[in-house]
């Protein structure tokens, strides 16, 4: 059993390999010389104090950071053997492969159905039957289907916050991405909705590679395979979650997870 596990670990494909990544907002450096690998079907949690660059980093992985004016980067992010900063790499293509879920649920002011099929639709799927199929599969995979199957045509803003967040997950899943980026996806939700999303993440990791930013140490411990600790724009430590929470190598990591941090 144990040897089988290690075998699997070794066979894991590297999805992202971040090399010497620096990022500046104007003159302020927010990410400092990051080196990072993300492996297939892992849940990688990113923790660290407020303002340490977690959101900045996760938004760099799908180049959403470029929406903000005056952002400069250096270094490279290799995603499946290609540098995402290459001019040949279309940013839209990258974002269809790498889905994102935001801190606050942000459905479109459209029907539940239209929300889910938005992505497939703009990327050329017109067939009604196919869209319906996509909607059902995505909503089932985001554990929302049973709650909304009778009101697919009603406005998404009629859903509760937790349901809206699962709808946003469904919307991302509808693109059949390879990676899901989640920036504090449960911070606006109550404990029950949070538990549901966590359960969902455990389920989704079978098919997706997940990177999740969280402020909750318990959440990171519960759901992630790897945990990265950021501090002031630097990656202090990245290791198996178990290792980070039991025997961290860096004193600063230990201070942070034991709550002894400034």
């Amino acid at each position: 059993m144990i040897s089988q596990n290690t075998n699997k670990d070794e066979a894991k494909r590297i999805i992202y390999s971040v090399n010497n990544l620096n990022l500046w907002y104007g003159k302020d450096q927010a990410l400092k010389n990051l080196n990072f690998t993300i492996e297939e079907n892992d849940v990688t949690a990113i923790i660290g104090p407020s303002g340490c660059g977690k959101s900045t980093f996760i938004k760099t992985l799908n180049r959403m950071i470029e929406i903000i004016p005056n952002v400069k980067t250096s270094g490279e992010i290799i995603y499946n053997d290609r540098n995402i900063f290459d001019s040949a790499f279309g940013v839209e293509e990258l974002r269809t492969r790498v889905g994102m879920v935001f801190q606050k649920p942000n459905p479109f002011p459209k029907s539940i159905f239209e929300n889910v099929v938005y992505g497939p639709k703009i990327h050329g799927i017109r067939n009604k039957k196919k869209l319906m199929e996509i909607a059902e599969v995505s909503l089932r995979n985001s554990a929302l289907w049973d709650e909304v199957k009778d009101r697919l045509n009603s406005n998404a803003y009629g859903l509760s916050g937790g349901q809206q967040q699962r709808l946003c997950i469904a919307r991302a899943l509808a693109m059949e991405p390879e990676v899901l980026l989640m920036d504090e996806p449960t911070s606006a939700l109550d404990p029950i909705a949070t538990a549901k999303i966590e359960e969902l993440i455990m389920e989704l990791k079978k098919d997706y590679t997940i990177v999740i930013v969280t402020h909750s140490m318990q959440q990171a411990a519960r759901i992630s395979d790897k945990t990265a600790f950021f501090l002031m724009g630097e990656l202090i430590e990245l290791d198996k979650t178990k290792t980070i929470f039991t025997t961290p190598r860096d004193k600063r990591t230990e201070d942070y997870i034991t709550g002894r941090f400034g």
């Binding site: 959403m64 974002r95 992505g119 803003y157 693109m175």
Partner: protein, 308 residues
């Protein structure tokens, strides 16, 4: 520490201060007075209009009113209102054909594509355009646009519906653009981010997310634009002339409802004559029309108000 500086004491004193309470009751009454002033004026206008319009409607048979023959000053006068309504609709239609596409595109550009710095410069300039007196626009239509159009369209009359229609459209662009831009701007950025994260291009975000989300505000800007065009007076009075024929030919002169009122109030419609009362009838129709338009705009904003 000085006793009079005690915060609790000061606050308590302040609460017991009678003058403070009096003002709290008195000032809102002044506000109410100011607010009711506009209501009272509106009611007054409506009453005047209704009263004198009634005199007109009671003396002229409905069949004549809804005819296409308008000859108020002939020996055998006829008061068909259709030529006026027709002219108003045609000039307004031309105006909206100019104002909607250009205004909407300008709004899209300002809200979705222009950098913050550029928007901060462009928007006030555009809004300045709305402050130009309409008589200037009228003059512009008559002495600048019409001559150009005459070169392009042989047979265009010196007074015509096309030129003031276009210029009215130009006048309304800032209004449509500014109101639409406000609506687009109030679409939360989180929504755009959601769309970008799904691999949308900027154009897709603009057309598939922002415009639908701002739909009610955009529609309301159109309706208010139409209302403005219908009520616009100087431009059409100057550049469209006073021909009372019933025609769909936009190269010809035609008189709108507003231009009719201008002609007769500045002319010699003797008080008490039918021509005099016809002004009130036309005024009433105009009033009802713009009122309906404004109600429609409100209805649209309420009915299609996006919840986010």
């Amino acid at each position: 520490m000085d006793k009079s500086m005690n915060v609790r004491e000061v606050i308590k004193d302040n609460f017991n201060n009678k003058r403070h309470r009096g003002l709290e009751k008195f000032i809102p009454k002044i506000f109410l007075l100011a607010a009711s002033l506009s209501v009272v004026t509106t009611v007054g206008i409506v009453c005047t209009l209704l009263f004198d319009a009634f005199k007109f409607f009671s003396r002229v048979p409905l069949r004549e009113i809804f005819s296409t023959k308008l000859a108020p000053l002939s020996a055998n006068p006829s008061f068909g209102i259709l030529p006026l309504i027709n002219a108003t609709m045609i000039t307004s239609l031309i105006a909206m054909c100019v104002a909607i596409p250009i205004g909407l595109t300008a709004a899209l550009y300002l809200s979705e594509f222009a950098s913050d710095g550029l928007r901060r410069i462009l928007k006030p300039i555009m809004e300045l355009l709305a402050g130009i007196p309409t008589i200037v626009y009228g003059f512009f239509a008559y002495s600048f646009v019409t001559p150009i159009l005459m070169k392009l369209i042989p047979g265009l009359e010196a007074k015509n519906a096309l030129s003031p229609g276009i210029v009215m459209g130009i006048m309304i662009i800032p209004m449509v653009a500014s109101l639409s831009e406000d609506a687009m701007n109030s679409v939360p950025n989180a929504m755009r981010e959601g769309a970008f994260a799904l691999g949308s291009t900027k154009l897709e975000v603009a057309f598939k997310v922002v415009i639908p989300a701002a739909f009610s505000g955009i529609m309301a800007s159109f309706v208010l634009g139409i209302s403005r065009a219908v009520g616009e007076t100087m431009i059409v009075a100057i550049a469209s002339g006073s021909s009372k024929i019933f025609t769909f030919d936009i190269t010809r002169s035609m008189q709108t409802m507003t231009a009719y009122i201008v002609e007769f109030t500045s002319g010699d419609a003797g008080s008490g004559t039918l021509g005099y009362y016809s002004l009130y009838a036309v005024g009433l129709i105009l009033f009802v029309f713009t009122l309906l338009m404004n109600l429609l705009a409100q209805y649209i904003t309420r009915k299609y108000r996006e919840e986010y």
